[in-house]
């Protein structure tokens, strides 16, 4: 009766179908879209929850960790699943929230070996990873595959989020190279305020949804910084570096090579 929607879908998505910018067409776009979420931790939890709720048709989830009790202070989709693979736990959560969403799980690390292959399969990438090598790897794979990507990172009471569109500017235009090992304290030492990934991950989900719907202004060329103690958001504008190693005029990085993304930091940040 109403296009290809079932009555349950009309009810489920009614609040966003009513939005003039979304409508039935936008909802169909969402249902046929594919988003890759790298990391099913704190950022991933909130991104996955809202992307699934909105009816993103296919969610790819990459993570090789198991759920630990120390995750539950901020990784809200994993309740009751201690010891289970995070990908599996996330899939269970999505299934109970919205059966329209097809979840593809990758119980492995996002690495130089699978980065481009994974990114290639999706329309948008959400970086919910917790370490510098992976942030750079996700950036580089997205730039090379010309896929938009939302970067998010959190520590203590602060969060950072920006959207990288194909063509740049990219994460390397903001932070040319990873910080030297040890400069940024390990996350287990530094701690994290549990609501942070909720706020930042939700912004990442909004960027993915806006991109798929083709609405609004992306958070591109702008690094949005959030401080939960001051309760402030501020924006730092950034431009494309001519000498950017991957999106600049003469890029040095033209393929993904493992030795560019080595874990020179022994510490594992489990944000």
């Amino acid at each position: 009766m109403s296009g290809s929607f079932t009555d349950e879908q009309i009810r489920r998505y009614s609040r966003q179908i009513i939005l003039p910018e979304v409508g039935g067409r936008g909802q169909k776009r969402l249902l046929s879209s594919r988003v890759l979420v790298v990391g099913a931790g704190g950022l991933g939890s909130s991104a996955i929850a809202y992307l699934a709720a909105a009816g993103v048709g296919t969610l790819g989830i990459v993570d090789n960790d198991l759920v630990e009790v120390s995750n539950l202070q901020r990784q809200i989709i994993h309740g009751g699943n201690i010891g289970l693979a995070k990908t599996r736990s996330a899939k269970n959560f999505v299934r109970s929230l919205n059966s329209d969403v097809d979840v593809i799980t990758y119980q492995e690390r996002f690495s130089a070996n699978n980065a481009r292959e994974l990114v290639q399969e999706y329309d948008f990438v959400v970086d919910g990873s917790d370490n510098f090598p992976t942030h750079y790897l996700i950036n580089d794979a997205s730039v090379l595959e010309k896929k938009p990507c939302s970067h998010g990172s959190i520590l203590r009471y602060e969060g950072y989020v920006t959207t990288i569109k194909p063509g740049g500017p990219c994460y390397r235009c903001i932070f040319k190279t990873p910080p030297p090992p040890g400069l940024i304290p390990s996350c287990q030492e530094a701690g994290v305020f549990g609501i942070l990934p909720g706020i930042i991950g939700t912004i990442q989900a909004s960027e993915a949804l806006k991109f798929i719907l083709g609405i609004g202004e992306p958070l591109a060329g702008r690094l949005l910084c959030f401080n939960a103690l001051d309760m402030t958001f501020y924006e730092a504008a950034y431009e494309k570096r001519k000498d950017c190693a991957i999106c600049g005029e003469r890029p040095e990085i033209t393929r993904i090579e493992q030795n560019n993304y080595l874990e020179n930091n022994a510490e594992e940040c489990r944000l």
Partner: protein, 74 residues
């Protein structure tokens, strides 16, 4: 032949959601007849249609507590 959308028995906001979905399938300038059996829903749907820029050509009460809206898609 004007298309017809029978929303008798349906409640807000689904009356308008279903109207909106049907209108999306029509061409601009095409007419749609909507049947409703609730006065509040009839008022709400008419208001929302106007807000979205569509033109209400006719609104009348039929027998048996049924309202009919004739709308032209913007």
């Amino acid at each position: 032949m004007t298309e017809e959308l029978d929303l008798r028995g349906e409640v807000c906001p689904y009356t308008f959601v279903k109207t909106k979905l049907r209108l999306e399938e029509l061409d601009s300038g095409q007419d749609l007849i909507i049947l409703l059996d609730d006065s509040a829903a009839t008022a709400n749907v008419s208001k929302s249609l106007r807000n979205d820029g569509h033109e209400i050509l006719d609104l009348k009460t039929m027998s048996g507590g049924v309202w009919q809206i004739l709308v032209k898609k913007a």
